[in-house]
Symmetry: C2
């Protein structure tokens, strides 16, 4: 028996219309490259997004055509977030931190037809332009430099719209966006987000125990809009009618803190490396910036060190530890305190907040260990596998063989986790970074986090090195703070307070910095290559 | 181009599993008919809901089979809310306040196969049992009376489950529930809710600007679970892991206030007639009950008088005025204060809160006036029409011809409204109650609300009477407070401070009480019949 309910598709036009009709007065604030502040309202955003959609259709955009963007976080990028999919196109955000060859590969693989690019990012485009063939290139001009030969002004594109836009019919399973994930092995792999998936992710992200956004909130996503939908923050804020603040290219801690204060931001989000200098600055000059009491810092992308969570808590701010993946639209879990939290000791609370959190409504999780499904006991490790209505079921035309889905349809995250009885996921490692010593697993992440809690240690990465007897043993690569003086034995001594003897690294190497991927994550592959000759016994 | 996202159905099993796995410790509290308090956890609820599902399948339940319930609000009813649809069945909640003939019609029309009934409601079943044919009847026994001949114990049904339950495959468009709406004209009409519609309603209801439920909340729905899914409150609380408190049959104000206090309720919901004695009691004995500061009172079903909203506000509580319909799963709008609210005078704020609110994400609204689409100017009246993924597109096998949908697929609510530029809907009348005097509309609801603001007036209903020259003119039917002494001219004089002369009722009749429908709404049809001989000139 079928329900007598309307067959109403879940698509982005409904969110854009809702925002335009109901939240027209709300503000969107962007910082330009010259550091000036640009303000307009949801009404402006609504009008211009529809203009963009109309103009793209005039330009010949066909359903499913990819439109690449090479842009910072700003209002125009938000217009593209809606204008492109509302015209039936697919927004393909390009990660401006990738190597030119990777960008060329991605653009060609996705078959991007148009490109919209920031004027201050034209040098990046220059780097791979000869290897790709965009039909038309539109430039968002913040400065006064003349347009390069053959490129057009984004504003002229919008002006071409006649205000007669009517949304095309869009199926909810149609793609609305694309993002490529550049793993450490193989070619970059593309995920095509669906309208339905983004809509459901948006609804789920808005609930109180995830981001909890209302008309009274103001968000500032530092996480780039070219990175996994900026964790869904911009789209969610558009639906909930929250004020939105964009940093443009200025993501240094002074610029960010200034905006957090002046715009009364209530929720911001970024990777741990963005927050390190922010925490330092707030500790050094506690009176300088008056941030909103109880302000929420969403931390994701990689694990938030417990010390950072404690620092934010001490200052009266709330940390929401989040975990997700490009393949998951992207949020999977958030670390909100459950009622059980209240009866924990302060140390247990912070240990819990340092975990990656509990799954969002409609994200199913399971742990697959060596012997099948693992229990939620907080100890048993296994690969985290997920399922849900905004999780990828494949990559877009992959060039390499893919082993990321199980036979029964779950996505294999590649993260090794434990889940405690409350449902908090703790990532102990990437499957490929896990150290297997004498048949037992050692979590490189746990050891790294402990190391980074040492006042004289700035950063640390722990990798496996081959061992004749134990198969693998840990090597710690440590970056010291300035003027610090630690010996390898000091480091091992420090760790021995927390870990069993067999978890302690056999060797400690002091290095200048931990190599990073384009999204700021530790690139252990580079370290493994550097220390490949290492042997311990 | 299709998104590379999992084809994952939106069904109730996912919510039940999420709740059972992640919120097992949360409490569900029910008051029994003997006034004792019953407590158990989400873990118990989860286990028993699955037992119910398994037992129903053992009993031969086929996909789409209807299971009727004749129950108060309590934990077992919540088990049915999930156990029935998770077995692939359709939960058909019967309104115990309906006439026996209506109940018989509804049960036969829906073709209910099984019934689950409270022991204290068996007398109601007695009233129509001979006119229907349930295959099996299960009784929820709170007392010790023996089971009537041919009936079975609900607990025995559950015990039959062997714990081997596996969810059947359910399409998201399949029906999960049914509710009949008994209009003032024609036979009752059935709505079949879909899994997808309920899931989306649940997600949307959870966001901060609707109910805003988190794991830290505790809800007490006074609105009956047999009435339009209890406004989605129980299902939403299950998804968000909020504590749930049920009144059982005890909805008197003392019992309700006691539970609101003792269980630390943060959000409750019911019709205005439920709240009138609560407000009176709180005003009379302000020290007696210590309710949570900022507690939310959701008021819907019919318009909340502005005086009530002011009273709650004065006491430090928040009113969320909500509007919905059985045909809408049911919530359509909620009256949360937009940022524009802050720059209003106190009077404007209360006038805004007395409106029915702004549409939920994914509810589209429009006003259809005499001359087509009406503007959102706060003045132009027209019929409210709605569209969205949880709104009915038809009735279930209707016996009468139905004119409730427009040719372009919008649901005609039958409510006459204005919408202001902020998007707040104000219901000025039912299309059939509107008074058309000399070609201009008079809102009976506006005049009623003004009358009910008079300290000596308890209730008022304004109806149209035929008029030779003006076609229709208003007649006010007024219920006075005890010991009040008002003349018809006093009443007209009072109204003249607020309304144009032509809006004033030609006549004022003092009556003992306003007749009500089974759901507590004014039954103007009865008044129109009673005063049908009236003529003014």
């Amino acid at each position: 028996m079928r329900g007598t309910i309307m067959d109403y598709p879940l698509t982005l036009p409904t969110i854009l219309e809702h925002a335009g009709r109901l939240h027209g007065d709300q503000e969107i604030v962007s910082r330009h490259p010259d550091k000036s502040i640009h303000r307009y309202t949801f009404a402006d955003f609504y009008r211009r997004s529809r203009q963009l959609a109309e103009a793209l259709l005039q330009a010949g955009l066909k359903p499913g055509d990819r439109v690449g963007t090479l842009c910072w976080n700003h209002a125009e990028h938000l217009e593209m977030y809606f204008g492109v999919p509302c015209a039936g196109g697919v927004l393909h955000t390009l990660n401006l931190r990738l190597h030119a060859d990777e960008l060329a590969y991605i653009v060609n693989h996705a078959d991007d037809r148009f490109l919209i690019v920031d004027d201050d990012l034209l040098p990046i485009l220059e780097g791979f332009k000869e290897k790709v063939s965009f039909e038309r290139i539109f430039v968002v001009r913040h400065g006064n430099d003349p347009l390069p030969e053959g490129m057009e002004d984004y504003e002229d594109l919008l002006t071409a719209a006649e205000g007669t836009f009517v949304y095309p019919e869009i199926e909810e399973t149609a793609a609305c966006g694309m993002c490529y994930t550049s793993g450490t092995t193989g070619r970059p792999k593309g995920v095509a987000y669906s309208h339905r998936g983004v809509v459901l992710h948006t609804l789920s992200a808005a609930v109180p125990d995830v981001f909890g956004l209302s008309m009274r909130d103001c968000i500032l996503p530092i996480v780039p809009m070219f990175h996994a939908n900026a964790w869904g923050m911009p789209t969610t804020a558009v639906m909930t009618g929250s004020k939105i603040v964009f940093t443009g290219p200025h993501m240094d801690h002074e610029s960010v803190l200034e905006l957090l204060e002046s715009e009364n931001v209530t929720l911001t989000g970024g990777v741990p490396t963005v927050w390190l200098p922010v925490v330092d600055a707030l500790k050094k000059e506690p009176e300088r910036w008056k941030l909103k009491k109880g302000m929420k810092f969403v931390i994701g992308g990689s694990a938030a060190p417990e010390a950072m969570i404690r620092d934010f808590d001490n200052m009266g701010y709330q940390v929401i530890h989040a975990w997700g993946m490009t393949e998951m639209t992207p949020i999977g879990t958030t670390g909100v305190p459950k009622p059980a939290f209240d009866s924990m000791s302060k140390d247990e609370q912070f240990a819990t907040l340092a975990k990656q959190g509990i799954p969002l409504p409609f994200v199913e999780i399971r742990i697959m260990g060596d012997d099948g499904l693992a229990p939620w006991d907080g100890n048993t490790m296994g690969e985290l596998q997920v399922r849900g209505p905004w999780i990828a079921d494949s990559y877009y035309n992959p060039d390499d063989p893919i082993f990321s889905w199980t036979e029964d349809g779950w996505f294999r995250t590649g993260d090794v986790v434990t889940v405690d009885k409350e449902g908090y996921v703790k990532i102990t490692d990437r499957t490929k970074d896990l150290i297997k010593s004498g048949g037992e697993w050692i979590s490189s992440v746990d050891v790294e986090n402990a190391l980074m809690g040492h006042p004289q240690i700035k950063e640390a990465a722990v990798i496996a090195m081959p061992h004749e007897k134990w198969v693998e043993r840990p090597l710690a690569c440590v970056v010291l703070e300035e003027n610090a003086a630690l010996s390898p034995d000091d480091v091992r001594e420090f760790l021995s307070q927390k870990f069993a003897k067999w978890w302690l690294p056999d060797a400690v190497e002091f290095i200048d910095e931990v190599p990073r991927t384009s999204t700021g994550k530790f690139q252990k592959l580079a370290l493994r290559e550097r220390f490949s000759a290492y042997r311990s016994n």
